[in-house]
């Protein structure tokens, strides 16, 4: 089968008509190379989706402008007024900072180059600093978690560099009951903020694998004295030749990671760890 056929990529991305899809399915079924190509296309598509999503998040949060912007009155009246007010403010500020001699040049540059859009953002978003939220949404997508068919549990040996830790595998879970319970727990919608005590010295790393053995999600499992057992999501994890790795130097997992959020400060409470895993860190 010709792996350089754009139809094969279209098949992997779900872009073929039903008839073409049926034909391609037969061809792919007979070709391990084509199956590998489709898997790789899925992998790269997942990474692209995640990275574009990350780019979106890193682009700021203009959503709070919406309620005003969609009001017809806003477009006809408030926007010019807001711009005029800002120009006036800029002029006053410039007069104070730059003094009379530079005012004209400064103002003409401001009014000529600043589009209204920018002015509006400045007015409405302000420059408030907000403290981290108490809860955030889980970046792992349910569809991705649904693909999990195995969970590798391992330990991170002491004195391993945080940026590149290889997991020492303890167990691979494929029992459907434990797997379902683990997936349900990982799919918890909200992560809650926690102040991690310094006393945590030991934990397990969970690697969630799909049918092809690709790591689709990962989390650290540990006990917080006084607060209970927790799952802390890992941003980076990967596998190579049956070795499993976490840390900044491992691939970024496909998920809706938001910029500006420290995910190590958020956890999923894990009260049913006993039925999922059965042993606890340090035991």
């Amino acid at each position: 089968m010709n792996l350089d056929d754009p139809k094969l990529t279209a098949y992997a991305l779900g872009e073929l008509s039903e008839a073409e899809k049926a034909r391609m399915e037969k061809s792919v079924a007979d070709s391990p190379e084509a199956q590998q190509f489709v898997r790789e296309t899925h992998d790269i598509a997942r990474i692209l989706i995640a990275e574009y999503a990350g780019e979106n998040q890193a682009d700021g949060q203009p959503a709070n402008l919406i309620d005003i912007r969609d009001d017809p009155w806003f477009w006809s009246r408030a926007r010019p007024l807001a711009i005029a007010a800002l120009i006036a403010s800029a002029a006053l500020l410039a007069a104070i900072i730059l003094g009379p001699r530079n005012l004209r040049n400064h103002l003409s540059a401001e009014t000529k180059d600043q589009p209204g859009y920018i002015q509006l953002e400045n007015v409405e978003t302000g420059s408030t600093e907000t403290s981290p939220p108490d809860a955030i949404s889980n970046p792992f997508r349910p569809a991705m978690i649904a693909r999990v068919e195995r969970v590798v549990i391992g330990e991170i040996p002491p004195n391993t560099p945080e940026s590149r830790s290889e997991i020492r595998v303890i167990e691979v879970i494929s029992d459907s009951n434990r797997l379902t319970a683990l997936k349900n727990r990982l799919a918890t919608n909200r992560l809650t903020k926690i102040v991690t005590p310094q006393s945590i010295s030991h934990g397990y790393q969970l690697m969630f694998l799909d049918k092809a053995g690709t790591v689709v999600a990962a989390a650290r499992f540990y006990n917080v004295p006084g607060a209970g057992f927790m799952l802390q999501l890992s941003r980076n994890a990967g596998t190579a030749n049956d070795h499993y790795f976490v840390g900044k130097e491992a691939p970024l997992l496909p998920a809706d990671w938001k910029g500006g959020i420290d995910y190590s400060s958020y956890v999923i409470s894990f009260p049913d760890w006993q039925e999922c895993i059965g042993y606890s860190p340090g035991a």
Partner: protein
């Protein structure tokens, strides 16, 4: 250009702003290379949507918004004599085979690495990748927005992914940043 249907309601605008404001801004920025111009273009796009009316079905609205936004961005390039994406030959140009600056050293940072490779692809390929993977548009929708046909979109995406896969694999060969197990 898709046919205008009826003036958009506030609810429609609210939903579409939430969904498309940032993707359109990034799309227009990639075409013009100018964030401020891109903001103007996106604003004009939504004003046109509201004043003139447009399809309310989300998938059709997406095609409408990206088409209008793209046309406006290309108009800015023409008016300001920017060469960025106007030249179709340039848009179809072959990707650079040169390694990215610091590719070997920085490849360990898998996050964002693919996006850096994307910037070395021809603009036309970057454009279709963005429409496909950021905005989940179909080949047909992308073809309508970029004024080509679905087959050509398929070829562009296939070629782009092939280049990405090859560059990513090359980088991954060096991605043995982890010590091998010895016990």
């Amino acid at each position: 250009m898709p046919e205008a249907i009826a003036p958009a309601t506030s609810d429609e605008i609210r939903i579409l702003l939430r969904r498309f404001e940032r993707p359109l801004l990034q799309f227009a920025t990639r075409i013009t290379g100018d964030r401020d111009r891109a903001k103007d273009i996106v604003q004009e796009t939504f004003i046109k949507y509201q004043r003139n009316g447009a399809p309310s079905d989300p998938s059709t609205a997406a095609t409408w918004l990206f088409t209008v936004c793209r046309n406006a961005a290309l108009n800015v390039c023409r008016k300001e004599k920017r060469l960025l994406l106007l030249d179709e030959t340039l848009m179809e140009a072959q990707p650079s085979e040169d390694p990215l600056p610091g590719e070997v050293l920085e490849q360990k940072e898998a996050a964002g690495f693919l996006m850096r490779i994307i910037t070395t692809l021809p603009p036309r390929q970057q454009e279709v990748l963005q429409l496909k993977f950021q905005n989940d548009l179909s080949y047909e929708q992308i073809a309508e927005i970029t004024k080509t046909n679905a087959n050509n979109v398929g070829v562009l995406i296939h070629t782009a992914l092939k280049a990405l896969r090859r560059r990513y694999a090359e980088a991954s060969k060096h991605f043995v940043a982890f010590p091998q197990r010895t016990t």
